[in-house]
């Protein structure tokens, strides 16, 4: 739509100023070695430091760990009151990396297609996203380039690209994005596209980890494996804790639970994050578990990211290469290693 130029300081001050008007989430240092998307205050220091991927991805602000679907109340006259709990409050998520932007783009597909999910869509519609391009790999775990997410831009209202000159190229892709810039008077940039190409060319040639296979071929490679010792190899140490699911930008499975108030006539129905690596995920009430073994669950997880959902939605791997699952697994089970092994195994 339109491009502008800004200094890093200008951008950082502008995001702080947005926090005075809106709820703004930004990656904030947490603990000793981590970041979290946290609601910032207008006085907070906003710094686009190179950061590790946040513990959970920003898309989880659109599908919170626990969200109310509706409330109910049985009235004394026998009537039942039901009220849906849709959250349409406006918010800004700033500092979203391309991998996480692609995660949001994919989640948009999952929740829009078929039976539309009102809870996700209401939040999404009322969320402005400010993306931020990566110039160097943020950790040695990433493989974003190998799964085509490093240059993902779609879904951001504004996208910021750091240039070699030290300036920031500000791309406004939506009217809402332009609206967020209304408090600034940034000069327009006439040669935005050329500068973007320059910024991409300035990146390291090998960006993060790579696969010895085209991104288009991954689905076909993963499809070849069913009964394979590789699934066992990569679950031997698995605790079935579901961390890999819970920190994944494209995992959206949920459980539904009811909460009854102590008056025993009112309460709510909520949904919470679930994960296909958890032992009871595919177990029916009668006790039969359709995926009783961790290896079968691992296979499902990997195939879902690289075979099932890519086939269903047609947008390539549903793994964005952020490296969260591998880094946060206490026993180092890394989806990159699994797919790497599948590719290698297919060659022999």
């Amino acid at each position: 739509m339109s491009d502008f130029l800004a200094s890093l300081t200008q951008v950082q001050q502008w995001i702080s100023s947005l926090a005075a008007r809106y709820t703004v989430f930004f990656p904030t240092p947490h603990g000793e070695a981590n970041y979290r998307f946290t609601a910032i205050g207008a006085d907070d220091d906003v710094r686009f430091a190179p950061y590790r991927p946040t513990i959970t991805p920003p898309v989880k602000l659109l599908v919170p760990a626990r969200e109310e679907l509706f409330r109910f109340q049985h009235k004394e006259d026998g009537d039942l009151l039901l009220s849906p709990s849709v959250d349409s409050s406006f918010r800004v998520i700033a500092g979203v990396r391309p991998c996480d932007l692609k995660g949001i783009f994919l989640m948009d597909l999952f929740f829009e297609r078929g039976v539309a999910d009102p809870y996700y869509l209401a939040r999404r519609e009322n969320t402005a996203i400010i993306g931020y391009a990566c110039t160097t790999p943020c950790t040695d775990r990433v493989f974003c380039a190998a799964v085509d997410s490093l240059d993902h831009r779609q879904g951001a209202d504004l996208f910021l690209t750091p240039l070699a000159s030290g300036e920031i190229l500000v791309e406004a892709n939506t009217e809402r994005g332009i609206g967020l810039l209304d408090s600034t008077d940034l000069p327009p940039c006439e040669d935005g596209p050329a500068r973007k190409i320059g910024a991409i060319a300035a990146r390291p040639e090998t960006y993060g980890r790579s696969f010895d296979a085209d991104v288009q071929s991954l689905s076909g490679i993963v499809e070849q494996y069913w009964d394979s010792p590789l699934w066992d190899k990569h679950t031997e140490r698995c605790f079935s804790c579901g961390t890999c699911n819970l920190v994944c930008p494209t995992c959206y499975c949920f459980d539904v639970r009811d909460n009854l108030a102590l008056d025993t006539v009112s309460g709510s129905r909520t949904r919470t994050w679930d994960g296909c690596m958890l032992p009871g995920f595919a177990q029916v009430a009668g006790g039969h578990n359709f995926r009783p073994q961790p290896a079968g669950r691992q296979r499902h997880r990997v195939k879902r990211k690289f075979e099932y959902l890519p086939t269903k939605y047609g947008h390539g791997p549903v793994c964005v290469g952020c490296g969260r699952c591998g880094r946060q697994c206490t026993v180092d089970i890394d989806i990159y290693d699994i797919v790497h092994d599948l590719i290698e195994g297919g060659k022999s």
């Binding site: 959970t56 140490r237 958890l278």
Partner: protein, 258 residues
């Protein structure tokens, strides 16, 4: 009719019953719904039968066994209340020490000698083995943790009032910890039992800067071999690993080295 509920305790600090009393904001609402007939911490009234018996504490002596069996026989639904009742808790560490040695440690060498010759002290020898309730009687539900978690207590009470079982998913503390977006304790250079420990505590210890020590007991399908290997890889000494596994779970297979 309101269900008759009762509280009993064995070897414990009675902290879980206190935790129930500490649900001050909702305790009166609960008492509207149930008929509390036995609760040493608060009232004294005896009944012959109980709809729900909450039993705190671990089982040590023969007379404990007899008393627990009696409670079981008089109760429709029996709940193990807290870590002592569910997995033995810290006192189960004494399973690995001869009683006389224990006695000497606490009361001195002279006491050890006396306990070995004075028949008056012999009953102290009789505490042979610390066990959770389910090693002795059938347990219908477990409210895990040291102390038990008020929200789980409430969920159990509401479920029973609705005429059904509570639902305590068999997932690890890590699962809740990630939902809370905590920094993993391994990123802080520490180690943790969260991978193999029953969730339900909302990862309260990690939320508050500590690590999980497994007070809620070990998950039924926990990958114990992987956990042992993990602690070794993080250079935890063998003796420390054993001590860690026995801290709350001395009465469980992991604590016994099984």
């Amino acid at each position: 009719m309101k269900p008759k509920i009762a509280f009993f305790d064995f070897a414990s600090c009675e902290g879980c019953q206190l935790a129930v009393l500490n649900c001050e904001d909702i305790l009166l609402d609960i008492l509207e719904l149930v008929d509390l007939v036995e609760f040493r911490e608060a009232i004294s009234e005896k009944a012959l039968r109980y709809d729900v018996a909450f039993v705190e504490g671990s089982i040590h002596r023969d007379e404990d066994i007899a008393r627990l069996r009696d409670i079981r026989a008089r109760s429709t639904y029996l709940v193990a209340l807290g870590a002592c009742a569910c997995n033995g808790n810290v006192q189960a560490r004494s399973n690995f020490v001869a009683p006389a040695v224990n006695y000497a440690e606490v009361y001195g060498e002279a006491a050890r000698n006396r306990v070995q010759v004075d028949p008056e002290h012999w009953p102290l020898w009789a505490h042979t083995r610390v066990r959770p309730l389910d090693a002795v009687v059938k347990v219908d539900a477990q409210l895990r943790g040291c102390p038990m978690v008020p929200s789980e207590f409430l969920h159990l009470v509401k479920s029973l009032l609705k005429g059904t079982q509570p639902d305590f998913p068999a997932v690890a503390v890590c699962t809740e910890c990630k939902k809370n977006e905590n920094e993993c304790v391994f990123d802080r250079g520490q180690t943790c039992m969260g991978q193999i420990t029953w969730a339900g505590c909302n990862s309260v210890c990690v939320n508050n800067g500590y690590v999980c020590d497994g007070c809620r007991g070990i998950l039924p399908d926990a990958n114990l071999a992987a956990h042992l290997q993990l602690l070794r890889e993080h250079k935890v000494a063998e003796a420390d690993i054993r001590s860690r596994y026995r801290l709350f779970c001395g009465a469980e297979p992991i604590g016994r080295g099984v």
